[in-house]
C-alpha cells in the first residue's frame, strides 16, 4: 500500500509539479473559460434574434397582407433557416477549422476566431430552444399585451421573452454545458485550452492517466458548479410565481 502511494506521489509530482506543468492546466482553463464566456453571449444574442424572426414569421405569415414588410420577413426567415440547417448539419470542429484557416485566415486573434465559431454554432441551438419557448406562451398573453397598446416588439420584450426564458432555462443550461465541453476541440486550431493543456503534459511525460483524469475532473467540477447555479436561478424564478 505504502509503495503504491509513493509511486502515485511520484507520478503526480512528475506530471504536475515538475517544470511547473500544472500551469498548462490553469492557463488552459483560463482559455476555455474565455472562449465559453464570449461564445455564450454571442450565442444568446444570435439565438434570440433568430428565434424572434422565425416565430414572428410562423405566427404572422397567414395573417399578414402582402407588403414590403412581409417580403423582408420572408427573406429574413429564409436566411435564418439556411443558417440553422448549415450550422446544425456540420460538425463544430469543421466549422472552427473553416473559420480559422479560411474565413479569418488573416487574423492572429485566435480567441476572436474561436468565439465566433463557437458563438455562431451555439446560436443555432439557442435559437431553436428560444423559438420553442416563444411558441409555448399562450397566444392570450400576446393579445393582452397588444390590447394594452404595446407594439409587437415591446410585447415580445416585456411580456413574451421573460416568460419564454423561464420555460427554456433547463434546456438553455444544457446547451451551455454542451458548449463548454465542445470548446475542447480548440486544440485543432492551435489554441492551448484545458484539453490541449492536458495533452501537452501527456506528450511531455508519456504518462497519460494523471493529466487526462485531471482535465476530466476540472470539466466535471465546472459543469457541476454551473448546474448548481442554474438550479438556484430556476428556483428563484419559480418562487416569484407562488
Amino acid at each position: 500500500m505504502a509503495e503504491w502511494l509513493a509511486e502515485w506521489k511520484a507520478r503526480l509530482i512528475y506530471n504536475f509539479i515538475e517544470d511547473d506543468r500544472w500551469r498548462y492546466l490553469t492557463d488552459g482553463l483560463a482559455v476555455t473559460l474565455q472562449i465559453t464566456f464570449f461564445a455564450v453571449i454571442l450565442g444568446i444574442a444570435i439565438g434570440i434574434l433568430v428565434a424572434i424572426i422565425r416565430s414572428t414569421y410562423d405566427k404572422n405569415k397567414d395573417e399578414m397582407r402582402w407588403s414590403i414588410w412581409k417580403v423582408l420577413l420572408y427573406i429574413l426567415n429564409f436566411i435564418c433557416k439556411v443558417y440553422l440547417t448549415v450550422v446544425r448539419g456540420t460538425p463544430v470542429v469543421v466549422q472552427l477549422m473553416l473559420m480559422y484557416f479560411v474565413i479569418m485566415a488573416s487574423t492572429t486573434n485566435k480567441l476572436l476566431v474561436a468565439t465566433l465559431a463557437f458563438g455562431i454554432n451555439s446560436g443555432a441551438y439557442v435559437a431553436e430552444i428560444f423559438r420553442s419557448g416563444i411558441m409555448s406562451i399562450d397566444a392570450g398573453q400576446f393579445e393582452a399585451g397588444r390590447s394594452l397598446g404595446f407594439n409587437y416588439t415591446r410585447t415580445m420584450w416585456f411580456i413574451i421573452i421573460p416568460q419564454a426564458f423561464k420555460n427554456v432555462l433547463p434546456a438553455l443550461a444544457n446547451e451551455f454545458i454542451v458548449l463548454l465541453k465542445e470548446t475542447s476541440v480548440s486544440g485543432y486550431v492551435a489554441m492551448n485550452d484545458l484539453t490541449k493543456g492536458g495533452d501537452i503534459i501527456r506528450s511531455r511525460t508519456f504518462d497519460a492517466l494523471p493529466p487526462l483524469i485531471a482535465v476530466a475532473l476540472v470539466y466535471l467540477i465546472l459543469v457541476m458548479f454551473f448546474t448548481f447555479l442554474v438550479g438556484r436561478l430556476e428556483r428563484r424564478l419559480r418562487n416569484s410565481e407562488r
Partner: protein, 248 residues
Amino acid sequence: MNDEKALIQVVGLQKYYRGGLIKALDGIHTEIHRGEVVVVIGPSGSGKSTFLRCLNLLEVPTGGNIYFNGVDITDKKTDINVHRQKMGMVFQHFNLFPHMTILKNMTIAPVKVLKKSEAEAKETAMRLLRRVGLEDRADAYPSQLSGGQKQRVAIVRALCMEPEVMLFDEPTSALDPEMVGEVLEVMKQLANENMTMVVVTHEMGFAKEVGSRVIFMADGRLVEEGTPQEIFEQPKSERLQSFLAKVL
C-alpha cells in the same frame, strides 16, 4: 368631439377564413355611442367574439371599415397601437401576466406606453384596486388569486389606461359559478359610471339589467338589435326566438 357622433362605427365588417370558405363575419353594420352598454349575444360560432376582437384589430378584418373617433382604424396607415390604448379589453381567460405582481400587471402599460411616472401609475392602480376590494393583493402574483379575483384585476388593469371604451370577451365564461357575481358587479359599477362598454356574454340577466342595447348575432350576421325589452320580450326573428327558447 361631438357626443352625438358614434364612438365606434362599423361598416360592412367581414372576416373570412380559409379564403372565404368560412365566413365568420358577413357584413356587420352597427354603431356604438358614448356611454352605451352594448351586449352581444348569440349561439356559439355566431361570430360574436370575432366581431369584438375585430373592434380593436386583434383579428384583422377581411373587408369593411371600423371608425373609432372618426378615424378608420382598418386603414393600413393608421397606427393601431395608439387607438388600442383607448380601447380596454377583458378576456375570457384573464390573460394576466404570470411573471409580474398584480401591481406590476397594472402599471407596466401606463409606464411603458403612456410614459407615466411609476408613482403616478401606482397611485392610479392602487385606487382602482381599492375599488374592487383587492388592494391587499397588490404584491401577489396572478397564480395566487382565484378566477374571480383575476378577472377583477384584468378589468382594472385595462382601466389603468383610462380607455374610452371597454371590450369584454365572455368575461365570466371561464369562472366558477360562485365567482360570476363579483365580476358582474364590477361591470355594473362601470356601466353606472357611464363607461362605454361592448360585452360579449352568455349572461342574459346581465344583458337585461345592464344593457342599453342588445345585439343578436347568428352565422356571422347581425340578425336583430334593440333595447333589452325589444330583444327579450318581443323577439321578431325566428332565429332569435329559438335561441331565447333554449337559453332562457
